[in-house]
């Protein structure tokens, strides 16, 4: 089972990475996650983010992730401590 964390996007690090202020963690996650994590996006499902990754830049990423509540499905953590994750805008699905 994939580890999942949720939280709000914060500082932009590069066109495909940002800081996540973690607010929720899935019960049963295998790893521990701190309150602030660096996330590198390996796949995105976020309103406003172009499908083509070559069109991503810091400004677009900021518009789409700053303060936004995001779900990160974690693939791995690299040697620098950066989390590689599938990132989606969480819980806008309506009722």
């Amino acid at each position: 089972m994939t580890d999942i964390i949720w939280g709000n996007g914060s500082e932009i690090l590069s066109p495909d990475s940002f800081i996540l202020n973690v607010t929720h963690r899935k019960n049963g996650n295998k790893e521990n996650y701190s309150d602030v994590e660096k996330i590198k996006i390996i796949q995105a499902d976020i309103p406003g983010m172009p499908q083509n990754q070559s069109e991503w830049n810091n400004e677009i990423l900021a518009q789409c992730t700053k303060d936004a509540f995001l779900k990160c499905e974690i693939e791995s953590r690299d040697a620098s401590g950066m989390i590689l994750a599938k990132v989606s805008h969480s819980g806008v699905g309506g009722y």
Binding site: T23, G48, D67, H89, G91, V92, G93
Partner: protein
């Protein structure tokens, strides 16, 4: 006191619209927007649709709504097209809600034009019917297409209103509560995982909209936090919802769900 305006004559004053947009009132209730007989006719058709299409499962929605398709525009537009047949079926004998809202706007805001919102030269879904059964509640939330629907052209509207027609009320529960607290991006830190927000966004000043009856239309500013309390009765709460997007400068209103 923060209280809604009630109207019996299917007309709203421009000043009422202004008050709701500015949060000076929590809502407007148009009594008997549909008559009891008209609601019964619509409910009969919904029941027929449910039996045909949802034999083994519990129907919760009829029609697509944009928030379920924020990053899947083509799918939403395909579903909106499919839904057109269903809307003709359900409103075969009763005037459809878009036409009725159109008349309300023509009477109340005669300088505004109104149309179904379009995207990629295709019509969006004009409304969604929700069937909420015992135990269901809708947590505190807001609706804001500028923020969540940014892949759609209607994300550039100046104001958004929510219109909900109450086709059937449950015997107990299912109350609409509006909080005098307008959403902003900073509130995103109070989000729940699945949907909605923690009770920390609930302001002390709030309004339970009283006296909603079958056939009434309730208009709120959905950018203010709101919720529906748990349905406690055996009779499902059935509503029809649509949004109005207002382009003030262009004197134009678009409708979608």
């Amino acid at each position: 006191m923060w209280a809604p305006i009630y109207s019996d004559n299917r007309k709203i004053k421009y000043s009422d619209f202004k008050q709701i947009l500015e949060g000076e009132i929590p809502g407007i209730v148009i009594k008997k927007f549909y008559s009891e007989n008209q609601c019964d006719e619509i409910l009969k058709k919904i029941k027929e649709y449910e039996i045909t299409c949802f034999e083994d499962s519990k129907l919760e929605h009829i029609g697509p709504f944009l928030m379920s398709y924020t990053t899947r525009k083509e799918k939403y537009l395909d579903k909106s097209k499919e839904f057109q047949k269903t809307t003709h079926l359900i409103f075969e004998k009763v005037e459809n809600p878009f036409n009725r809202i159109n008349k309300l706007i023509n009477l109340s805001l005669p300088s505004f034009s109104i149309s179904i919102a379009r995207e990629s030269e295709r019509d969006m879904s004009p409304f969604v019917i929700r069937v909420h059964r015992k135990g269901k509640s809708i947590p505190i939330h807001k609706d804001n297409v500028n923020y969540e629907g940014k892949e759609y052209s209607i994300a550039d509207i100046e104001y958004q209103l929510s219109c909900v027609i109450h086709l059937q009320e449950s015997e107990f529960g299912g109350d609409v509560i509006i909080y005098k607290n307008k959403w902003n991006r900073k509130h995103e830190k109070y989000r729940n995982i699945d949907f909605g927000y923690s009770s920390q966004v609930a302001s002390k000043e709030s309004c339970k909209i009283e006296g909603i009856e079958k056939g009434d239309l309730v208009i709120i500013n959905p950018n203010y936090f709101h919720q529906v309390t748990e349905i406690l009765g055996e009779i499902p709460r059935i509503t029809l919802g649509m949004f109005l997007g207002i382009y003030q400068k262009d004197q134009r209103i678009v409708v979608w769900a």
